[in-house]
């Protein structure tokens, strides 16, 4: 206890050093491994926002710097990086992580160092349910997303016999279970519930089971790299019923992998369709121009997460009379944000750090093209 205060005080009192007006913000996402596309997208989005705002902060007398970290989607790596981040006096905030399994243990560390986290994509309930003051997230929770998917599947698509596959990761299990609970409540029958191994490329075994059970919908809890393969192999086997998934599948990777087979796939996502608004379109164009890459859905969340953080930072600076505020002040300022208008989402945090305006979106792939077509959205 005492030593946390100590280090907290040190961080606040030792701001007189030579580079005291440098404020670093870390992105901490998976830059390698299976989630790297999204991890990269978040990083680039955040980078873009930071660079846009840099001159403004320069005018206020502060240099913003981005410090990207790779958590490799590995909790251990995340925690040890988090300690490095904690050690860096100049780091005020973290944009990340993506995987809930990494977010949860790493945030314990940020909490100790009063480093504000704005999370652009971890949906597990435990992320905010632990009541940490530094943890904020701008997307919806699994216990909102899963049921929303189930309602759509049962009520709109009329699914009665659902076959559920999940990837046996924290995320996959979480969303699949939330989906199953709601679907059963709504009267659908779960005709199968199977797990797969991440990283493999042949899921025919499980698909054979699905084939045999003749479901009228397949739900997959997991991410695009496995989801794409499952979709493709299922279609090869002649399974033409709708396949549904969560935000983990919301990536251009899905289309790259599944190709034409992606038709008739539905996803719920915590990420909105960036192209649906003019600001969003502009964002996507700028992004493309800047990085020579199409924006992913989560690019805008990286962008907005950074935006939210910088807004909080600015508020804190102002409240501190234009001087560098203590980290605690930034923590509080970020949590206090209401009605921040981002390119993709508006943000107002509740007392746990969840975004009151977070929505779950529904998309359908009608052709082999990303992003998929917008079907609808659900707000809390």
């Amino acid at each position: 206890q005492s030593s946390s205060n100590q280090s907290g005080q040190q961080t606040t009192t030792e701001q007189t050093g030579a580079n005291s007006n440098v404020i670093k913000i870390a992105t901490h996402t998976p830059l390698s491994g299976g989630n790297a596309i999204i991890g990269e997208a978040i990083k680039l989005g955040a980078q873009m926002k930071l660079e846009e705002e840099a001159s403004r902060f320069e005018e206020m007398g502060f240099t913003l710097q981005l410090e990207p970290y790779d958590d490799q989607a590995d909790p251990k790596k995340g925690v040890s990086n988090a300690n490095l981040i904690g050690a860096d006096d100049a780091i005020y905030g973290v944009i990340g992580h993506f995987n809930s399994g990494v977010t949860i243990p790493s945030s314990e560390i940020y909490e100790k160092y009063n480093i504000t986290m704005v999370n652009p994509g971890s949906t597990a309930t435990d992320v905010t349910d632990r009541g940490l003051k530094t943890v904020n997230r701008i997307v919806a929770r699994d216990d909102f997303q899963g049921p929303a998917g189930a309602q759509f599947a049962v009520n709109e698509l009329g699914a009665k016999r659902i076959f559920v596959i999940q990837d046996k990761t924290a995320y996959g299990t979480g969303i699949a279970d939330a989906f199953v609970a709601e679907a059963e409540k709504l009267g659908a029958e779960i005709v199968g519930y199977e797990g797969i191994t991440v990283g493999e490329k042949d899921y025919n075994g499980v698909i054979n089971q699905a084939l045999n059970k003749k479901p009228d919908l397949i739900f997959f809890g997991g991410i695009y790299s496995e989801g794409g393969i499952i979709i493709k192999q299922a279609r090869d086997k002649g399974i033409n019923v709708p396949i549904m998934g969560g935000d983990g599948m919301d990536s251009s990777g899905l289309v790259d992998i599944a190709g034409e087979a992606v038709k008739n796939v539905y996803i719920t996502s915590v990420a909105g369709d960036t192209s649906s608004t003019p600001e969003g379109k502009k964002f996507m164009d700028d992004y493309k121009a800047k990085f020579n890459k199409e924006a992913e859905a989560f690019s805008a969340y990286g962008y907005d997460a950074m935006g939210v953080f910088l807004q909080g930072l600015e508020n804190a600076i102002k409240a501190n009379g234009g001087k560098l505020p203590p980290k605690e002040a930034v923590v509080e300022a970020v949590r206090a944000i209401t009605d921040y208008q981002g390119v993709i989402t508006d943000v107002s945090f509740d007392e746990k750090g969840d975004n009151k305006n977070a929505k779950v979106y529904l998309y359908k792939f009608e052709e082999a093209k990303y992003p998929a077509s917008y079907v609808g959205e659900v707000s809390q």
Partner: protein
């Protein structure tokens, strides 16, 4: 000139002076600069230098203890990076203990085990399940989570659980030899991980892939242990015990039996060494070190899930042992320290630095080559280079040197006392 210099360096007094100077410089650099990984690493490397100095073993140990218990924690406490240094040091300690355990199995007994991390997992889960409400899912009695003061007991329980797992796996596995053993242990390691990953159904033992969060931190006489510097000391104590035990084992009849089995099973058997028992002991002891550290790890992370116990992790520990020098205790220590520091600190710092350069426009790096993504690559290159240039390991295993004169003296003394053997010391006619 060169010779003179090396002569000078051989001198004890010179060595000590230089060494003291080195420590003072690095530790004060560490203490006063806000964040200097370099001085932290240099300070740590003083332990390595110490190892090579020609001082009495006892003196070396005393100095080392002083460094580890007082100077290193104190010097790094100077800046805000304190906890990150202690975190790295703690992880280093955890891996060293595991490497020492695996070194018994692979280095000494010659049994290639590719599933070693399973024992770490067993230790970690045995604490996590009982230090959270997880246990109430299947325990008919008791109240969970257990309090943090049970942590100390769990250190032993975790060790024992891992040892039991080692024996359970060992009994069937030891029928197979060589690389077949490697693959069977690999399979067992994976089986254990997959089972932990799926044991949320039908009864929720492990909470499956969601992992176990909010693990009760240890409690020492009412003091909650949550900071890396506190864990540092816990790990240090366990580690010292481990090193002591391993050292004793190596030069005992058990250590010799392990090596004999490694060198030639048939001859070892002919010397009356029971193969299965000897190998099982290696498995069990090696596993128990790992299990104990598993408990510490779980408490420190406050969250564990099966992704911490993958095959790659087993490989990494093996790499530490082989890189250090198979069968060599100081080697395993150095190997573990090096790989851990490299992975957790140096590579990350290096990539951060490169990243700063590219942000400042000093160098331009295409996106595909973003330094943060290159850690594995760099690690791979380093592995190959190390292995090629130090083929026998960083500190190759050395056989114990027996003091011939001393033994001879004792032999003569004994011969003088007992006249029975008086004529068998006579040489055979040459």
């Amino acid at each position: 000139m060169k010779e003179k210099l090396s002569m000078l360096l051989q001198k004890k007094s010179v060595q000590i002076t230089l060494f003291t100077l080195f420590i003072i410089v690095t530790s004060s650099a560490l203490y006063f600069s806000q964040k200097s990984v370099v001085s932290f690493l240099l300070l740590l490397s003083s332990l390595l230098i110490l190892y090579y100095m020609n001082l009495k073993v006892v003196t070396k140990w005393l100095i080392a203890l002083g460094l580890l218990f007082i100077l290193i924690p104190f010097a790094s406490s100077g800046g805000p990076a304190f906890h990150s240094y202690m975190e790295v040091a703690t992880m280093v300690g955890i891996y060293i203990a595991m490497a020492l355990g695996l070194n018994i199995v692979v280095g000494m007994a010659g049994l290639l085990d590719l599933g070693f991390v399973a024992f770490f997992a067993v230790g970690a889960y045995s604490y996590s399940i009982f230090a959270t409400s997880q246990a109430s899912n299947f325990m008919p009695f008791g109240e969970y989570p257990l309090s943090g003061s049970t942590f100390w007991g769990f250190l032993i329980i975790g060790g024992i659980m891992a040892a039991i797992a080692g024996v359970l796996i060992g009994v069937p596995v030891l029928r197979v030899k060589g690389d077949y053993l490697a693959i069977v242990t690999l399979a067992f390691g994976e089986i254990i991980r997959i089972i932990f990953n799926n044991l949320d159904r039908p009864i929720n033992f492990t909470n499956g892939a969601m992992g176990i969060a909010s693990i009760t931190p240890p409690n020492l006489f009412g003091l909650e242990i949550i900071y890396p510097n506190q864990y540092y000391f816990i790990v240090l104590f366990i580690l010292l015990f481990t090193i002591f035990a391993v050292n004793r084992l190596e030069h005992s009849k058990i250590g010799r039996a392990w090596k004999a089995v490694r060198e030639n099973e048939i001859a070892a058997q002919a010397m009356g060494i029971p193969l299965v028992k000897t190998k099982l002991l290696a498995f069990a002891l090696g596993a128990s070190f790992s299990g104990i550290m598993g408990v510490v790890f779980a408490a420190k992370q406050q969250f564990i899930d099966p992704t911490s116990f993958t095959l790659l992790e087993s490989f990494t520990i093996l790499v530490m042992v082989v890189l250090g020098g198979m069968g060599s205790v100081p080697g395993a220590i150095l190997g573990a320290a090096l790989v851990t520091i490299l992975n957790l600190q140096v590579l990350t710092e290096l990539t951060n630095w490169l990243n700063q350069l590219s942000l400042q426009g000093v160098i331009t790096i295409p996106d595909a080559l973003t330094p943060a993504k290159l850690q594995r690559f760099i690690f791979g290159v380093l592995l190959v280079i190390f292995a090629i240039y130090r083929t026998k390991g960083l500190i190759p295993a050395k056989n114990k040197k027996f003091d011939v004169e001393q033994i001879k003296e004792r032999a003569q003394k004994k011969a003088a006392i007992s006249n029975i053997g008086s004529n068998d010391t006579d040489r055979v006619q040459a």
